[in-house]
């Protein structure tokens, strides 16, 4: 439904502010993902340390957004779309904060990885990184614009990210079996890949929240999921 203005203008202003702050928080998280992957590829520990520091700004925004949403509930007693928007904001803020944490974690792993010589060039990880960043960007766009189709596309795209993670998992297992000296580095990379895959999962959680905000009903379908990594076994022979 199209939105007419509230009779009380400050209510409109608060709702706008909530949406803007979520976009800002999301933007910061996207940049953190991008920089984390770059610092990993370039083996840049200084850049990685900077990313770890910057995560604090995302945490601060989460506190601000949650406070704003709580105030709105107390003051405005929102109903219908306003209520769903406020609740959506309350639910999305901690999700973005976790995305930031995953990016920070990737930066930490980068610093650890840089203690060891580089292993074979990994194309899959930067590809996964770009994909997850794209998913976060698209889903937050969808949230700002109540774009159900866009949210759903993100929701479905996660299957591809899961597939990439599954094949990377196998690849890293075989490297470790070929050369035990690479085990430390490969294990760190496994965690990096896992973090990126989790960022994709969170993007789908946000997509489900967008669905609820627009439709007023939760999304009850099962997401197409191919999480084979958790049951993958590679022969030792």
């Amino acid at each position: 439904m199209s939105s007419t203005d509230h009779i009380v203008k400050s209510f409109d202003e608060e709702l706008s502010r909530l949406s803007d702050q979520i976009s800002r928080m999301g933007g910061l998280a996207e940049v953190q993902i991008e920089r984390a992957i770059e610092s990993l590829q370039r083996r840049n520990s200084e850049e990685a340390a900077h990313i770890i520091e910057e995560d604090m700004r995302i945490d601060e925004l989460q506190v601000e957004i949650e406070e704003l949403a709580i105030q709105m509930i107390a003051r405005r007693q929102p109903l219908a779309t306003d209520l769903r928007a406020t609740v959506a904001g309350l639910k999305i803020a901690p999700l973005i904060e976790r995305i930031g944490d995953y990016a920070k974690n990737i930066a930490r792993r980068t610093i650890a990885l840089n203690q060891n010589p580089p292993i074979k060039p990994m194309f899959t990880i930067p590809r996964m990184g770009r994909m997850s960043r794209g998913m976060v960007q698209d889903v937050l766009d969808a949230f700002s614009n109540n774009d159900l189709a866009k949210a759903r596309a993100v929701w479905e795209r996660d299957a591809e990210l899961d597939d990439m993670y599954d094949s990377l998992f196998r690849e890293l297992l075989t490297y470790m079996m070929e050369d035990p000296r690479s085990i430390t580095s490969c294990t760190h990379l496994l965690f990096v890949a896992r973090n990126i895959e989790r960022i994709g999962d969170i993007a789908t959680n946000i997509a489900e929240i967008v669905h609820y905000q627009v439709e007023g009903q939760p999304l009850t379908e099962d997401r197409p999921k191919t999480d084979e990594a958790s049951v993958t076994v590679v022969d030792n022979n």
């Binding site: 439904m1 199209s2 939105s3 007419t4 203005d5 509230h6 009779i7 009380v8 209510f11 007693q77 929102p78 109903l79 219908a80 779309t81 306003d82 209520l83 769903r84 439709e215 007023g216 009903q217």
Partner: protein, 277 residues
């Protein structure tokens, strides 16, 4: 058929005793079909069709002048007292048309009680406020009967403990909240089946309001309640079914939960979110 309840049966039993009751599961107490009301040439209500479920609270919401109070007054034919008011269409209670010639309107108004926005106790003692109705309806035989009925009604309205030692004092000497509960007790005393409430808490402070809301929740075990209210939050709190009126039309009706979280009509959405210009 098994003697013990299977897990499925237990689950089903728990679901139906759940707080969020579905309005459709209750039988219909009041059935209105294509009701049109005119004040002279002014077409105040247009083709109102609604089923009021038994033992539930139904709330009517809408901006001032939308017709919700007018419709409320149709249910106990209070509009009969207004000369220029003309009612068309059907209103049935327990499948009997209340506008049928054979209906005794006085009996109807005992069966369908009303509580108004401004508490209006009779200029009588607290005791006589309650006793008046049952006496004139011949519902009580003597003093003992009357005493019991007065006490029962005041207890049900949550007022007994506060007034039991001063039943001879005038009803008008009570606080606003107490007066309103007195009016509810008065309505209950004549054994109604439906209680109509027209903004019963508008004149009351938040604590008195909360007590009335609590009372409404208890009363619906035994009565069918229809409440007109300007407070969206109150409607959301006390009712199971909500109907939104606008400019004489019944725009939308449904489960209270659904109306307030996900209304279908834009007008409903605009009204409840405070977007009406």
């Amino acid at each position: 058929m098994s003697e013990e309840n299977t897990p499925k049966e237990v689950e089903a039993a728990v679901e139906t005793s759940n707080e969020t009751e579905v309005a459709e599961a209750h039988s219909t107490k009041v059935n209105a079909e294509k009701v049109n009301v005119f004040y002279g040439d002014n077409h105040a209500l247009k083709d109102i069709t609604i089923k009021i479920p038994e033992h539930q609270v139904t709330s009517f919401i809408g901006p001032s002048g939308c017709g919700k109070s007018t419709f409320l007054r149709c249910i106990n034919r209070m509009n009969d007292t207004i000369d220029i008011c003309r009612v068309e269409g059907t209103i049935e209670i327990d499948s009997r048309d209340i506008y049928d010639r054979a209906i005794d309107v006085v009996q109807l108004r005992a069966k369908v009680g009303m509580v108004f926005q401004k508490p209006n106790p009779f200029p009588k003692s607290i005791y006589d406020n309650i006793a008046y109705g049952p006496r004139i309806h011949g519902m009580v035989a003597g003093k003992t009967d009357t005493d019991e009925l007065v006490e029962a009604s005041l207890r049900r309205a949550g007022l007994w403990d506060e007034v039991k030692d001063r039943l001879e004092e005038p009803g008008t000497g009570l606080s606003g909240g107490q007066q309103q509960r007195l009016c509810i007790a008065r309505a209950i005393a004549v054994s109604p089946q439906v209680i109509l409430m027209d903004e019963p808490c508008s004149a009351l402070d938040p604590i008195a309001t909360a007590r009335i809301e609590e009372l409404i929740d208890e009363l619906r075990q035994n009565f069918t309640i229809v409440i007109v209210t300007h407070s969206m939050q109150q409607a959301a709190r006390v009712s199971q079914k909500t109907a939104f009126f606008h400019l004489g039309d019944l725009v939308e009706q449904g489960n209270t939960e659904q109306i307030f979280t996900n209304p279908e009509d834009k007008r409903t959405q605009d009204y409840i979110t405070g977007r009406f210009g």
